[in-house]
């Protein structure tokens, strides 16, 4: 039933999609890739299928992420984004298809999933190799604005605080692949900007690949090299963001890309009124 994962790497996959592999929904394969010939891969997914109770949530999905690439993943609620992330994190093995990921991964789940029996700072250090000092946790928590809550029990955190603790826990790991599932959803505007900046900085310093699931199109365009839109179990749309960094929200090209993506997501930008 399962695709044999040990077959030799299929040469056609990485760079030159054949006609039958590329769907009609995959336009503009683009500039950003041309810049770096045959770059290292951080994620290779092919023919991935995941079904729940017979319903294929992910259906023959194909995904490549270059090492050091920042990819944003958009898509309707319930379209399978978190499922894909869990598979990439190696947490869901009830799958068919080929999935290749680096060994060092870090995940910030959609729900914070802090261990309720460990104080916040211990949660941050959990699973780190060696005997990391508390200062490591304190600094990571300070960066997400939680210095005053390091010694709290997770269940006493506010929604946004828990989300930031979870983010700090992922960022402190310094992974090769960073999987973020709506990590800023519960943050106010200012805190969100700071957290975004933090992720951006880690990404630049560390050079890790990032897969960011978000519902905020602006955020996706602001941060990512490439924005994917998931629908019906596959990557239905792909958009390279070739804007210079730092990016400017007021840039008309920014608004244009944002508008295109929103349209893809089914939002008629003109009708945004209650």
């Amino acid at each position: 039933m399962a695709t044999d994962v040990h077959r030799p790497v299929n040469h056609q996959v990485t760079e030159e999609p054949t006609a039958e592999a590329s769907t009609a929904e995959e336009p503009k394969r683009d500039a950003s890739k041309a810049e770096a010939p045959r770059p290292a891969q951080a994620v290779r997914v092919e023919g991935l299928t995941r079904s729940f109770d017979g319903r294929a949530v992910i259906d023959d999905l194909r995904l490549d992420v270059r090492a050091g690439e920042f990819v944003a993943l958009l898509g309707r609620s319930g379209c399978g984004k978190s499922t894909l992330l869990r598979i990439l994190a190696g947490l869901d093995r009830d799958i068919e298809g080929t999935v290749l990921v680096p060994r060092r991964k870090a995940v910030a789940f959609q729900a914070p999933r802090l261990m309720p029996w460990k104080k916040v700072w211990r949660n941050v250090l959990l699973g780190l190799p060696g005997k990391p000092a508390r200062a490591v946790a304190d600094q990571a928590l300070g960066e997400v604005g939680l210095s005053h809550r390091t010694d709290a029990w997770p269940k006493t955190l506010s929604g946004g605080e828990a989300q930031r603790a979870s983010l700090a826990r992922a960022l402190v790991r310094e992974p090769d692949l960073l999987l973020l599932d709506e990590p800023f959803g519960a943050l106010d505007a200012l805190t969100r900007i700071k957290a975004q900046r933090l992720v951006g900085e880690l990404w630049q310093r560390r050079g890790c690949a990032v897969l960011l699931v978000t519902h905020d199109v602006e955020e996706a365009v602001l941060l990512a090299d490439r924005v994917l839109v998931m629908d019906e179990g596959v990557i239905a749309h792909e958009q390279a963001i070739d804007l210079d960094r730092p990016r400017d929200i007021t840039d008309p090209r920014f608004a244009e890309i944002r508008g295109q993506l929103l349209e893809r997501l089914g939002v008629d930008t003109a009708a945004e009124a209650a």
């Binding site: 090492a67 990921v101 310094e174 560390r206």
Partner: protein, 303 residues
């Protein structure tokens, strides 16, 4: 509540540098160039191992025990006066069944157990509800129950005889007592383990006090109650050993005690085996109930 950014010489950078020396200085324009990564495949479960049906795997343990026993017996490590061989025991069991004494013992005992389970179930859950739901109930109920639960049956039997006579009543009372406490402890712990957030949600939905109990607290305490039930089912049969010392002339407990008084090791072993099967049966019942009632619960299932 400010977000400070790690300076380049912060400890965090140290970590990254020691682990990945090639992660160099950040640039303003994009990520640093990286060396090719070693990717590892995520191996689908379906290709990992073939499935042996559950019931078959679960019989491994008992079968292993049996094989061990037979082996020890036939190699003479276990001599007959220590523990008779499975064959001999099977023969004694056959006798006990064919002369009807085992079957009639089971029937008699089953009735007592049913009575005791019912009563004890009601009392145990009832008390647990009172103590679990209300602080005042806890204050009044919990301490006495914690006291009573450690009181040995044997000491209570005379009192039970005086209160309940020597008919079926004291026997059922003893079983009831045995059943009550494990249920109490586990249901109580279950109730007190229900997530406070869900209770709040229930309240905010306008549930009445009873609605809260029925729709939130009891389902939340169910996993605990199942453990209690598992224990209670076992205890109810164990209590027979005491219950059927009181004016009994049949029943599995009576058979057991009688065999002990008459030093009939073989009969004792048959009784022990019957008990072991009852344990398996109890487990089967609770497992089935759990499959039915706790299917909403995505928990750790072992690797």
């Amino acid at each position: 509540m400010s977000i400070s950014h790690a300076p380049p010489d912060s400890p965090e950078t140290d970590i990254s540098e020691t682990s990945h020396p090639n992660a160099a200085e950040p640039t303003a324009l994009g990520p640093v160039p990286v060396l090719p990564l070693d990717l590892e495949p995520i191996v689908p479960t379906s290709s990992r191992h073939t499935r042996v049906p559950r019931w078959l795997r679960r019989t491994t343990g008992p079968v292993l025990l049996l094989v061990l026993w037979q082996l020890l017996s036939s190699t003479g490590v276990l001599t007959a006066d220590v523990l008779a061989s499975p064959g001999r025991i099977a023969q004694v069991a056959g006798d006990l069944i064919s002369d009807g004494s085992l079957t009639s013992a089971m029937t008699t005992s089953l009735q007592r157990v049913a009575g005791g389970l019912l009563l004890g179930g009601l009392i145990g859950t009832g008390l647990a509800l009172v103590a679990g739901l209300f602080r005042i109930g806890e204050d009044i109920v919990d301490a006495p129950v914690q006291m009573l639960r450690t009181v040995p049956f044997v000491g209570l039997i005379p009192l039970f005889i005086i209160w309940f006579g020597i008919g079926e009543a004291p026997k059922i009372a003893i079983i009831t007592l045995g059943v009550t406490f494990p249920l109490y402890l586990n249901v109580y712990a279950g109730i007190r383990g229900v997530d406070a957030q869900l209770i709040e949600a229930g309240e905010s939905l306008g549930l009445s006090r009873w609605g809260l109990v029925r729709h939130v607290i009891l389902p939340g305490a169910l996993p605990g109650a199942m453990t209690g039930l598992r224990y209670s089912l076992g205890i109810s049969w164990l209590a027979l050993v005491f219950a059927e010392q009181v004016n009994a002339d049949s029943g599995i407990g009576f058979l057991m005690v009688q065999a002990r008084d008459f030093l009939r090791t073989d009969v004792i072993v048959v009784c022990l085996i019957v008990y072991a099967f009852l344990g398996l049966l109890a487990d089967f019942i609770v497992r089935s109930l759990e499959r039915l009632l706790l299917q909403w619960r995505p928990t750790f299932t072992g690797r």
